[in-house]
């Protein structure tokens, strides 16, 4: 059973139909990349998995997104609980600016009631998982804003991992980073694979080709093609995918 599955998902922002009948199953423990031109609906899709459109005025969601077999678009869904199972990392690193490195990572587990000793352990484990521990272990009480952009992004990943999610959603996590910091995040994504299911939205096709097992191509709100990354980038089935990945679009 796929850990995440959208079924006939339609999303409207007011009159605008931005996601059209998207049905997509994400295999557990894999890395799935979502690619497509600007405005194709890829970020809208990933945000829907985290119930983020609840906060958007005039947004309407039809269809289903199933997480572990259960539709999350029902009244019974507890958004906070769901977001602890499905973490999200955004385009721009967004650590809590007034909190220290330690407190940024400890924030979620503390809300969940973790004890002080547990927190220490969770922070260390999460920072290690995010490949940041060695760089910050001697300055855990320093403000998070003192870190470089790449480090801040890894801190945000550590913060997401601290609440032990099953799924990690990443919306253009490297677009604000230089190639060295991007490389570190990509290595990290590979290391997290298996233990976590990762869905990454990226503008960078080469990045999708480098890091993912599966790739979905969105165009004008539709899912055009979904398949193994190797197949999508070597021999796409749909002419529109071919046109996009070879830069012959339009």
């Amino acid at each position: 059973m796929p850990i995440l599955e959208s079924k006939n998902l339609n999303i409207y922002f007011g009159e605008k139909h931005v996601l059209k009948n998207v049905s997509l199953a994400v295999p557990e423990g894999s890395i799935t990349a979502i690619i497509g031109p600007s405005g194709c609906g890829k970020s809208t899709f990933i945000r829907a998995i985290n119930l983020m459109h609840d906060l958007t005025p005039n947004a309407r969601v039809d269809g289903e997104i199933r997480y572990s077999g259960k539709n999350i678009y029902t009244r019974e869904t507890n958004a906070t609980e769901l977001r602890s199972r499905i973490g999200m990392v955004f385009q721009k690193p967004n650590p809590f600016p007034t909190l220290s490195i330690f407190e940024n990572v400890a924030f979620g587990p503390r809300l969940q009631g973790a004890s002080r000793s547990e927190l220490k352990e969770i922070v260390e484990r999460s920072l290690k998982q995010a490949a940041l521990w060695e760089e910050v272990k001697h300055r855990l009480n320093a403000p998070a804003t003192e870190l470089s952009g790449g480090q801040q992004q890894r801190l945000c990943i550590a913060r997401a991992l601290a609440v032990k999610p099953q799924v990690l959603l990443m919306d253009e996590p490297c677009s604000a980073l230089d190639p060295i910091a991007t490389g570190k995040i990509e290595d990290l994504i590979q290391e997290l694979k298996g233990e976590y299911t990762i869905v990454i939205v990226t503008h960078n096709m080469q990045q999708a080709a480098r890091v993912s097992d599966y790739t979905a191509f969105f165009y004008m709100g539709e899912l055009i093609e979904f398949g193994e990354t190797k197949q999508i980038f070597e021999k796409p089935r749909d002419d529109r995918t071919e046109a996009y990945i070879t830069g012959r679009f339009g």
Partner: protein, 217 residues
């Protein structure tokens, strides 16, 4: 940037086609030099082999440069990957022309045992195979490439024919052994050139369709 890349890709394809023409010409001229025992033509073929080699090296650099700079995908990736292999096969085809031209020189004033028929026919067929493979490469139509595999059976049958005839000649008259040994060698070169033409066709077909042909063994 993308338009520039596709322009460079088209240029690269033209260079591969030029190399293919040159490889074919060398193979045909090498064989003609033997058929006509034309040492001057053989010298010409031998000299041209270096140019073919240079094309192979410069095209390899051109292709790797395009991959490194543009990280292509889809058809573009297959075109570059296939082309990188194709230039090696073309270089070998041309090299067989060189090898045959060397045989012409080694003939050293001897005449043919009898008029050569199967060997020129083998060269002609391999030339047509290269033409078909290059036509497919040029037009991105798989059909001409598919025909190459059937043509290779003719080349193989001709090779068997040369081999058997030569053995018969050698048994009947040991004085022909030297020439016949050369004929067998040349027929073998042509048969191998045919196999390389098949590889060009196979990679071209992959470039166009994305399907890989599994070897028949």
């Amino acid at each position: 940037m993308t338009r520039q890349f596709h322009h460079q890709l088209d240029e690269m394809r033209k260079h591969v086609l030029d190399m293919g023409e040159m490889a074919k010409r060398n193979l045909l001229n090498g064989t003609k030099s033997l058929t006509d025992l034309d040492v001057a033509l053989a010298e010409e073929v031998i000299a041209l082999d270096a140019s073919l080699n240079k094309m192979d090296v410069s095209l390899e650099a051109e292709i790797l440069n395009l991959i490194a700079r543009h990280q292509p995908m889809g058809t573009d990736l297959r075109t570059l990957g296939a082309s990188l292999k194709i230039i090696t096969y073309l270089d070998r085809i041309g090299r067989y022309g060189y090898d045959i031209a060397k045989v012409t020189k080694e003939f050293g004033g001897k005449s043919h045992v009898r008029k050569l028929v199967a060997i020129p026919l083998m060269a002609k067929t391999v030339g047509e195979m290269v033409d078909n493979a290059l036509l497919a490469y040029k037009t991105s139509q798989a059909q001409p490439a598919r025909e190459v595999f059937a043509m290779d059976e003719t080349v193989d049958a001709l090779y068997d024919q040369v081999f058997r005839q030569c053995v018969t000649f050698m048994l009947e008259d040991p004085a022909t052994i030297s020439q016949c040994a050369h004929y067998i060698l040349v027929a073998r070169h042509l048969e191998r050139a045919g196999d390389n033409a098949c590889k060009v066709a196979e990679k071209t077909k992959y470039m166009i369709t994305g399907e890989r042909r599994l070897p028949n063994y």
